[in-house]
């Protein structure tokens, strides 16, 4: 392959997907001997006082906490989420029973006859409820799942000597993933092993979560990933939650069972993006220069911890954004509330943090009467600058070049000036960055990725790892990397669908780590194989993760050091027009310039950019998810609005190359970063259009109407 790695090739999976021959889980098992249906808690919070179960016909079963062969908890980051609710329920929608049997209508009839009597407890529906320990403490001593406190420089002295102190609080809401393929699992028993087919991001996570619950050796639990119809974080841990009850049922019944959520159940009870409240207080000197930030981040973690700890970590390590501020203090807390648990979603805490910081920079500029773009320039990070965790920016930072590029593409400068005098039109800009891979020492100490490269006697090479194709193009990009390193035709390199029995654990498909971390292992393994190439012979290469040597060592106790080995960088511009009567926002232009090392395939990366941007604009404007009386009011795809082809114009993007020494052919992460910048840029554009400060997303027409009526 003599051409650049970025040159587009046809995706390995393109024709099968377009022609409808790609078989997702429900296509592989269109009819199942047994079906499963969950029985969910109908209250938000309470104690289960008694249950009354109907007699079931032969062949039907109701499984609950008493049937768990091992420990009634799923091992995620911590073990707080039970397989089945036993004594208490913490959210409306928590699984209490699983009903299995051959006929769906009989299952529904059994479902209708189950009675659970609760002693209700006042639920925590807001962060304030949780902080006030309403209804009594639910987690630890203070309802806090995780707390992080970091500081850099000295924060109190600048506040004492400040000429002016400005502070404001920013809010972001829930978001639903709406992967097009709902949560789908099919499980059976074979010999003395449990086998699960799953539409999932992390086969080894599912296995780990089941070990204690089933009381079985990991090797007796086999997870086979099926082609996955979208995930965005929604299939990182949530398949564990469904796999638990299903595994208990299969363990007991020893027959194949299919568990596919219908869309309504999926939307009502699956995990969501963490809502956030972020307070930023800033000390300024006489000239309006930033002396220090004091930041408080609160995330609504929902009923169980799941991965709130890690989402919070990313929010805390990212909230400083692309600015070198000498003195900064960041406190972060994730709280327990009585809502469906919040969990992973593309961006993983960064979009919330970046929305707050970028909106705050606009607010500061607005209060100081300065141009928001010019105001930011003195603080933009440069190579060698310290990070908020006292690590270092190792790469050359291309923000000046990227700024120039996006100003040319979007005409931001002139439009910004013009729209000062044209009501209801606005344009906004945002900067952002996203760390590649797990935070801190996660890759080195926790994940320890391993991949295999196997060559058969026909000289075809197969890539074995646990990172899954879920739309982002990994089955193509991994093959491109190996093909280039081996100097072998692309058609001769193949991606093996993850199956815990045959692939090594290269870690979960999360954290923008697949290409930057695991892809690099593929490249190194391929280089080894090329050196030792024996045509016509079977060969296997094992490649383990080795931590880059350039990093400032991470200390998990003090949270000091390099939080990430490298960052991807971006700048977005959004232009809007607001209808003066209805206050609906019409997006007129979308621009993005990105630095993600080197794109492994330009078309695949562009697809990520456009898709991520539109998903983020949905988050910014359309995707309202209100919570009342224990449930989300937008419970179906008819009333939870995700963008259609008519909602936003086409996206204009550009990519700036800046090879990363430890990424596959220079690549850094791309999948999440593309989500990070749209909400603050959209907020900034709407702020200009209606001459007010936007401090929350989604930006709803009714909110704009109220803001304008109040004359704010």
């Amino acid at each position: 392959m003599p051409h650049s790695i970025s040159t587009t090739v046809r995706r390995k999976d393109a024709v099968a997907k377009a022609a409808g021959t790609m078989e997702y889980l429900s296509d592989q098992f269109p009819v199942s001997p047994l079906h499963g249906k969950c029985y969910y808690s109908s209250i938000q919070r309470g104690l289960i006082e008694s249950v009354s179960l109907p007699e079931v016909p032969e062949g039907y079963h109701i499984l609950g906490a008493d049937d768990v062969p091992g420990v009634n908890s799923l091992h995620m980051i911590i073990e707080d989420w039970p397989v089945f609710a036993d004594k208490e329920v913490r959210y409306l929608g928590q699984i209490i029973f699983l009903i299995v049997g051959p006929e769906k209508d009989v299952i529904l009839d059994i479902h209708r006859k189950i009675r659970v009597n609760y002693k209700e407890i006042p639920p925590c529906t807001t962060l304030e409820d949780s902080i006030a320990l309403k209804g009594g403490v639910q987690h630890g001593e203070d309802n806090v799942f995780t707390r992080y406190d970091i500081h850099h420089g000295q924060v109190d002295p600048p506040f004492e000597s400040a000429h002016r102190i400005l502070e404001k609080e920013y809010y972001t809401g829930h978001q639903e993933h709406v992967y097009m393929e709902p949560q789908s699992l099919f499980a059976h028993w074979e010999d003395d092993s449990f086998i699960l087919h799953a539409s999932a991001q992390c086969p080894f996570y599912i296995r780990k979560s089941l070990v204690n619950a089933l009381g079985m050796e990991p090797e007796k639990i086999r997870i086979i990933q099926t082609p996955t119809g979208g995930a965005f974080g929604g299939k990182e841990h949530f398949p564990d939650v469904l796999a638990g009850p299903l595994a208990v049922a299969v363990y007991k019944v020893k027959k194949p069972i299919k568990l596919v959520l219908d869309r309504k159940e999926d939307m009502a009870y699956s995990i969501k993006r963490h809502p956030s409240a972020i307070h930023i207080k800033t000390a300024l000197d006489k000239e309006g220069k930033i002396l220090a930030h004091d930041i408080d981040i609160r995330l609504d973690g929902g009923a169980y911890s799941s991965c709130s700890a890690v989402v919070l970590a990313r929010a805390v390590f990212t909230v400083g954004n692309v600015y070198n501020i000498k003195n900064i203090r960041i406190a972060g807390r994730a709280f327990c509330t009585n809502k469906p648990p919040s969990d992973a979603f593309r961006g993983f805490g960064a979009p919330q943090a970046i929305f707050a910081m970028e909106s705050h920079m606009n607010y500061l500029a607005y209060e100081l009467g300065q141009d928001p773009l010019a105001f930011r320039q003195p603080y933009l990070m440069k190579q060698g600058d310290p990070t908020t965790t006292d690590g270092k920016i190792h790469e050359k930072v291309m923000l000046p070049e990227m700024t120039k590029r996006i100003l040319e593409m979007s005409g931001y400068g002139k439009k910004y000036q013009d729209y000062k005098n044209i009501p209801y039109k606005g344009i906004g800009l945002s900067y952002f960055f996203h760390g590649s891979g797990f935070t801190g020492n996660g890759e080195r100490d926790l994940i320890k990725a391993r991949i295999y490269l196997k060559k058969d006697h026909n000289d075809h090479v197969y890539i074995y790892g646990s990172n899954v194709e879920m739309g982002q193009g990994i089955s193509t990009t991994f093959c491109k990397v190996a093909s280039k390193a081996l100097d072998l035709p692309f058609e001769q390199v193949h991606f093996v669908e993850p199956d815990t029995e045959i692939v090594p654990d290269s870690g979960p498909t999360v954290a923008s780590r697949s290409i930057s971390v695991v892809g690099f292992l593929v490249q190194k393994a391929a280089e080894k194989l090329k050196k030792d190439w024996k045509s016509g012979e079977e060969q296997t290469i094992i490649q383990d993760y080795e931590a880059p040597t350039h990093m400032v060592p991470w200390d998990q106790n003090t949270l000091k050091g390099d939080a990430y080995p490298a960052y991807s960088w971006g700048v977005n511009v959004i232009e809007v027009e607001v209808d003066p009567i209805t206050f609906e926002v019409n997006t007129k232009g979308i621009w993005g310039v990105y630095e993600m090392g080197v794109p492994i395939d330009r078309q695949i990366v562009e697809g990520q950019i456009i898709g991520g941007m539109v998903q983020a604009l949905g988050y910014s404007y359309l995707e309202k998810l209100e919570f009342s009386d224990g449930r989300f009011r937008q419970a179906t795809m008819s009333d939870y609005m995700i963008p259609t082809s008519m909602d936003f114009p086409s996206t204009k993007s550009a990519i700036v190359d800046n090879p990363f020494e430890y990424g596959a052919y220079g690549a850094k992460g791309a999948g999440e970063m593309v989500f990070d910048g749209a909400a603050p840029a959209f907020g900034a554009a709407v702020s200009q259009a209606v001459d007010t400060i936007i401090d929350e997303v989604p930006v709803l027409p009714e909110t704009l109407m109220e803001l304008t009526d109040e004359g704010r």
């Binding site: 377009a18 022609a19 429900s26 097009m180 869309r263 879920m470 539109v614 998903q615 082809s645």
Partner: protein, 159 residues
């Protein structure tokens, strides 16, 4: 509907159906007839993943009861992919990179066929409108629109 049987044409062949008239066409296609290219995304007529052409019109098969199928002419992705038009669209989707997770794409290909049937030389706006009943959470639509434009250009004369 003589003798309680429902007869319709599926991708050019006659099908005789003898089960409940209340079943959804989507389930019959997937479970009885093996047409698993037709996907269930929402089950309430919102997402378009189960799109088919019913007497030439783009329809969500999750919203069609079998009792209404007598004498109808039905095309699914399984039928379309065998035609020159279908091959052209599928190739254009692959070339434009207009597939990510792929779950909505067979339905999107049906919508593309519907757009091109109505207007062999569609504008970007025609395409945006024509595929707006089909939700895609991955692509942001631009590459899908490019695919339909490419199909229109390369498939000159096919529609």
């Amino acid at each position: 509907m003589k003798d309680g049987k429902i007869r319709f044409t599926l991708n050019g062949r006659e099908v005789v159906y003898e089960d409940s008239p209340l079943r959804r066409l989507l389930d019959v296609l997937r479970e009885d007839l093996g047409e698993t290219g037709v996907k269930e995304g929402c089950g309430e007529g919102e997402c378009g993943a189960c799109s088919i052409l019913l007497d030439g019109k783009l329809v969500n098969s999750c919203m069609v009861a079998m009792g209404t199928m007598e004498g109808k002419n039905l095309m699914t992705i399984e039928g379309l992919r065998e035609t020159e038009q279908g091959k052209c669209i599928i190739d254009a989707f692959a070339e434009a990179g207009a597939v990510q997770c792929g779950f909505c794409i067979p339905g999107m290909v049906m919508a593309a066929q519907s757009v091109l049937q109505d207007s062999p030389h569609p504008s970007e706006q025609d395409i945006r409108k024509g595929i707006s009943g089909n939700l895609c959470r991955c692509t942001g639509y631009d590459q899908i629109i490019q695919a339909v434009l490419t199909a229109s250009e390369k498939g000159e004369g096919l529609w």
